[in-house]
């Protein structure tokens, strides 16, 4: 039982990272119906930004400042990607936009390789990592911070989307773009805002991923990106709450598979789950049923 709870905590740790990244996929899909394959790369760049701010300056920035700065730059990167690569294709066939997203993902990976090299950067955890004991369980401070901060940001995001004007505009655009324009909403700005928020959260996920697993490399975003995407589909793509639940579920399923079955079968199980969901409930756990997904 104790072991089970320890593994559950491990799963929550991975899950909160997936959840943060999944939010970006789900928000972008909700608003422009595009699977942004480059999102995993934004996560990777976020981690590199954090490394640069934390270790290459002559003075030590506080941890929170490093995080906020990296999220800010990742947000700009996200907006830039949308403006350069996706904006022109909003009315194009979906397949073109999707291919562009794949191209963008490869481009960013190799750009990172060119700038930072293929050798991984070793990311020291920026916080104290000594475990603390709660009710007989040794829990890493980093794990607590990962889970805590991700929940905090998700609460902030939910408040933003449901309680503020730009949030309302965002929901309006995702429901009906034409009607939103008629209501005087600047769709371009709202789309940029969506990319900015999604990318910032993705970067946060990337920073925690790098700190937990200690390395940053140009292709680090690929696999967690795919997993987070599966989490978004699992939860119901387009639904922010769904992405969070999906993220946690995928994280826990992965850890439990590793702990009790074998790490061999993790990917088969996760991708198999994706196929099963797509076939039997393509709208996911929290997604609304739409008649035609074209």
């Amino acid at each position: 039982m104790e072991l089970f709870i320890s593994q559950l905590i491990n799963g929550l740790n991975t899950g909160s990272i997936y959840a943060l990244v999944a939010i970006g996929y789900t928000m972008v899909y909700g608003i422009i119906k595009l699977i942004n394959f480059a999102h995993g790369e934004i996560m990777m760049f976020g981690a590199y930004f954090a490394y640069l701010f934390a270790f290459s300056l002559s003075f030590q920035l506080p941890f929170l400042v490093v995080i906020v700065l990296s999220m800010f730059f990742a947000a700009i990167l996200g907006i830039l990607i949308e403006r350069v690569a996706y904006k022109k294709l909003r009315k194009a066939p979906r397949i073109s936009a999707l291919i562009t997203a794949i191209g963008m993902s490869l481009f960013l990976q190799h750009l990172a390789q060119l700038i930072f090299g293929a050798t991984p950067y070793v990311m020291k955890p920026l916080v104290d990592t000594t475990p603390i004991t709660i009710l007989n369980f040794d829990i890493s401070r980093l794990t607590l911070l990962t889970i805590g901060l991700s929940i905090l940001f998700m609460i902030l995001l939910t408040l933003f989307v449901y309680k503020t004007k730009p949030g309302k505009a965002m929901r309006a655009v995702s429901q009906d773009k034409e009607a939103a324009i008629l209501m005087g909403i600047n769709v371009d700005n709202i789309i940029s805002l969506t990319f900015a928020i999604g990318s910032a959260l993705g970067a946060l996920g990337g920073i925690f991923y790098a700190m937990t697993y200690s390395q940053i490399y140009p292709t680090m975003g690929v696999l967690p990106g795919l997993k987070a995407f599966i989490a978004a589909v699992f939860g119901g793509i387009g639904s922010i709450g769904g992405a969070m639940i999906g993220g946690y579920l995928i994280g826990i399923i992965e850890t439990m598979t590793k702990a009790y079955i074998s790490s061999k079968w993790v990917d088969v199980i996760v991708f198999g789950l994706l196929i099963v969901i797509l076939l039997f409930k393509p709208s996911g756990i929290l997604g609304k049923n739409r008649k035609e997904k074209v």
Binding site: I35, I99, G103, F271, G272, K293
Partner: protein, 343 residues
């Protein structure tokens, strides 16, 4: 028969079929001679065989992505099934079958069958989905195949890779296999069935209303694509002599997909041209190291932004049209030249 119109020599020579046969035969003769006289070194020789493999992979993917219009991101999965099937059959039968061609044919039939069955299994449920959902599902399938190959290490030797595969993929075998497959695809796409598939791409609902069995044709296209991918995999196995699961990852699927997109979705000649370019170009750009992938991915994005239909669009290369467009260009140049002189 007797009344058949006697063709003039000129007409006969310009008959597209004759042009095709002659061109294919002469390419083969030219290449074969170069190889026989050892004017092509082994490195280029291997690249040539790789081009032929990528032609098989991209034209087969074109059935599903170009002609049927469905997004398939797991083509490397079918290739992997074919490659491993062929390799295992090839290794097992090598002691009994001395002739390379026979060994290849037997293994390739096995590869094709198994890949086709996989295509049927995935395709039946998958084709209920459309658009990016189908793409994601095939992506998931490709990853599952790769993981299964890795995990079933008693048969496949897992991530360490399967060695000792007879290297029997000579240029002539690869060449004629490719010609055969491309011809079959070409003839199929120009048959009644092919046109039915094209009409599904253009308008599914309209096609259904004129009595086309959509599910059946989609499945046919999907299974054909996976069968030929299986043969492509078999060719790859016998060329490399070594297989590892990582060769059939998501990036490989993307690579094949990019070839189809750049060549033009729905154009076989486009796929062929872009296979050649995309196999040779990276090799010649090797000195640029990291830059070449940057270039590669930029080309993909820029193509989508400015020429989303790819190099050839949905058109096939046509000799008469080619002649016409060449003469158009020549006339234009001539006029410009004259104008310049007049001024």
């Amino acid at each position: 028969m007797m009344k058949a119109k006697v063709k003039t020599i000129k007409e006969f020579l310009l008959d597209p079929r004759f042009v095709n046969y002659t061109l294919i035969a002469s390419i083969f003769i030219v290449m074969f001679t170069l190889i026989q006289f050892q004017l092509v070194n082994r490195y280029i020789y291997n690249l040539l065989v790789m081009v032929l493999i990528m032609i098989v992979m991209s034209t087969s993917l074109n059935i599903a992505t170009g002609f049927l219009g469905e997004l398939v991101l797991g083509h490397a999965g079918f290739m992997g099934i074919g490659a491993y099937t062929a390799a295992i059959i090839g290794i097992a039968l090598r002691p009994y079958i001395g002739a390379d061609l026979l060994l290849f044919v037997v293994s390739a039939i096995g590869a094709m069958t198994l890949a086709g069955i996989a295509g049927l299994l995935v395709g039946t449920p998958a084709l209920r989905l459309r658009g990016d959902y189908l793409g994601i599902m095939t992506l998931g399938f490709g990853e599952i195949v790769r993981n299964l190959i890795t995990n079933l290490s008693s048969i496949t030797n897992g991530a360490q890779g399967l060695a000792g595969i007879p290297r029997i993929m000579t240029f002539p075998i690869a060449f004629w296999t490719t010609v055969l497959i491309v011809s079959v695809i070409f003839l199929f796409m120009n048959s009644r069935h092919g046109r039915a598939i094209l009409s599904i791409r253009e308008d599914e609902i309209a096609s259904e209303s004129v009595g086309i069995n959509i599910t059946r044709y989609k499945l046919i296209a999907f299974v054909l694509a996976s069968m030929f991918a299986g043969i492509g995999g078999a060719m790859f196995a016998f060329k490399e002599g070594f297989l590892a699961p990582v060769s059939f990852n998501f990036l490989k699927s993307v690579e094949i997909f990019v070839i189809v997109v750049l060549g033009g979705m729905g154009s076989l000649s486009g796929s062929i041209v872009s296979s050649i370019v995309l196999v040779f170009l990276p090799e010649y750009l090797r000195d640029f190291k990291e830059y070449r992938y940057l270039l590669y991915s930029s080309i993909l994005v820029i193509t989508m932004l400015y020429r989303p239909k790819g190099l050839m669009g949905t058109k096939e290369f046509n000799f008469t049209q080619f002649k016409a467009s060449v003469s158009r260009v020549v006339t234009r140049l001539k006029t410009r030249f004259r104008k310049g002189r007049d001024h």
